[in-house]
């Protein structure tokens, strides 16, 4: 199973890391650490009309964490709080082995067999969820 995790799509997502960087000033900025491995994620948001207008992320973490942040960079703009919750729900479905509605998340399906790596994927989405409380 291990070798399936590092597929081309996931590696590309992590490498390109769309949305990488900081937003200064921002409406919300949340930094979360994974206490088990020390990974660290920061999500910055700018908002307009109750929706995410711009998003940026900084990740000190593994490829899964970087790729997950990349999904946020691609898909978070335009979401309201319900949309952010729906995105997180899609992540959980993917980790449960289901086929996600968002194509980019399919890169994480092989992670479903590696419970110890779930939090690597979840960390950026958890940070996004907390940042989106401003919406």
């Amino acid at each position: 199973m291990s070798d399936e995790i590092y597929q081309e799509t996931l590696l590309k997502l992590a490498k390109e890391a769309p949305g990488h960087g900081r937003l200064e000033p921002n409406a919300a900025s949340v930094r979360l650490d994974n206490p088990l491995c020390g990974d660290r994620v920061r999500i910055d948001l700018r908002v307009r009309g109750g929706r995410i207008a711009e998003v940026a992320h900084e990740v000190r973490g593994c490829l899964l964490c970087q790729a997950a942040a990349g999904v946020i960079g691609r898909h978070a703009v335009g979401l309201d709080r319900a949309g952010v919750a729906e995105l997180s729900g899609q992540v959980e479905k993917t980790l449960a082995g289901e086929i996600p509605a968002i194509e980019d998340l399919a890169a994480f399906r092989p992670v479903s067999g590696h419970r110890s790596r779930f939090d690597c994927v979840r960390l950026p989405f958890q940070a996004l969820k907390e940042a989106a409380e401003i919406l």
Binding site: S2, I5, Y6, C37, G38, D39, G61, L63
Partner: protein
């Protein structure tokens, strides 16, 4: 028979290269048999009943204490069963810590496991103490040249790891004890990473407390030991209250039992203790001079191999002096979780992360490392598999 063949899990999984013994070792058949024998023929509570099984269980439990005492060249009254190193250190932090006053100081180091940091921070906050840390050298050792500066007349306890769970560096306890004695301080040693490498004359170290876990030394999870010098334990109040640790209880007050039972409130982990006793007996039958020599030979092979991998930085001593087979490294551009995952596809079990030593990671400006630990059952093939896997990880990740 290869030592590896004495471990049913390893014998049954020839493709596995287990290099994560620093987290939890594997368990030999002799220990599994002892635990199984207790659970199937002697299981009962200890120190309570007078029936045949209760007598057998008590004899087995106390017999395990004797086995461990022999392994440590210590008196049986100085062996306190705990759930592990963490519980042992917390016991001292509470019971010994009760005798400390505001302004007293405790000295730790920058390479400690969180279990030898957090209990002291909590004690500091409860009692208004000062917590000082010895710095760490570039080589990943505790900088003992700073002892004279950090240890002062206010110091009441120095608490250090015998062997770093990240760098493998072994501390010169003689210097630490001399420094502590000069100011009348006690010394606690976290021996979790040292004890898997053979018997030890613990009283001869000159320290006051020595804590270790069974699960890193071929015994079950959930059992460990606090060795405490008799006069220290006798002077300490209990940590937890409950059954077994009493001499007499009235509704007004309680008279406590003497050590070690004073510190063993409630029904203990009987089968775990029996397993740890069996592990000590098993270890006692091996030639540890030869085994440690072989472990260090493998450690040298690993260090040499890592030196040939572009982008690898070893966190710890590059030589074999005053170190054990705990080898941590960072691969430039690759996260230790990803490296460990790639190694797993080669059957190599390593640990990736901060190893519960975040201050040490901060010291070296790293989020984490990949760690391989060498145990008696490891062989050249394990090192070779790691290096092959690492080559793939480098090509894929770095």
């Amino acid at each position: 028979m290869r030592l590896k063949d004495q471990f049913p899990l390893l014998a049954g999984d020839p493709g596995l290269h287990y290099l994560d013994s620093g987290a939890s070792s594997q368990v030999p058949g002799a220990v599994l048999d002892a635990v199984s024998r207790f659970e199937t023929t002697q299981r009962a509570n200890v120190h309570r009943g007078v029936h045949r099984l209760a007598e057998a269980a008590t004899a087995a439990y106390e017999g395990a204490r004797d086995d461990i005492a022999r392994f440590l060249s210590a008196a049986r009254e100085e062996i306190v069963f705990t759930s592990g190193t963490t519980a042992a250190i917390n016991l001292v932090a509470h019971s010994f810590g009760d005798g400390l006053a505001a302004g007293d100081a405790i000295v730790i180091s920058g390479l400690e496991h969180h279990s030898n940091i957090v209990p002291w921070q909590m004690l500091r906050d409860r009692r208004g103490l000062v917590l000082e840390a010895l710095p760490v050298t570039e080589e990943g050792r505790i900088d003992l040249s700073q002892l004279d500066r950090v240890v002062t007349k206010r110091t009441r306890l120095i608490a250090l790891a015998h062997c770093s769970n990240v760098t493998g560096a072994v501390v010169d306890l003689g210097r630490v004890v001399a420094s502590a004695k000069a100011v009348g301080a006690a010394v606690l040693v976290d021996g979790a990473q040292r004890m898997p490498h053979g018997p030890l004359d613990v009283p001869g170290l000159g320290v006051d407390f020595y804590a270790f876990s069974g699960h890193k030394m071929y015994a079950p999870h959930g059992i460990g030991v606090l060795w405490g010098r008799r006069e220290r334990l006798e002077a300490m109040p209990p940590f937890l209250g409950g059954g077994d640790m009493i001499r007499r209880v009235t509704l007004e007050k309680t008279e406590y039992a003497p050590p070690p039972v004073r510190f063993e409130a409630g029904t203990p982990n009987v089968s775990g203790a029996i397993g740890l006793g069996a592990a000590c007996r098993w270890m006692g039958g091996l030639d540890w001079t030869e085994i440690v020599q072989e472990e260090l030979r493998l450690t040298g092979c690993l260090l040499d191999g890592l030196a040939r991998v572009p982008g690898v930085r070893v966190l710890g001593p590059l030589g074999l002096q005053q170190r054990l087979g705990v080898v941590s490294f960072a691969l430039a551009g690759a996260h230790p979780h990803d490296v460990s995952q790639i190694l797993d596809r080669h059957g190599v079990a390593c640990r990736g992360g901060h190893h519960c030593a975040q201050p040490l990671m901060d010291r070296f400006d790293l989020a984490g490392t990949t760690r391989a630990t060498i145990a008696p059952y490891n062989e050249d093939a394990d090192i070779d598999a790691l290096l092959v896997g690492l080559d793939e990880a480098r090509r894929l990740l770095a």
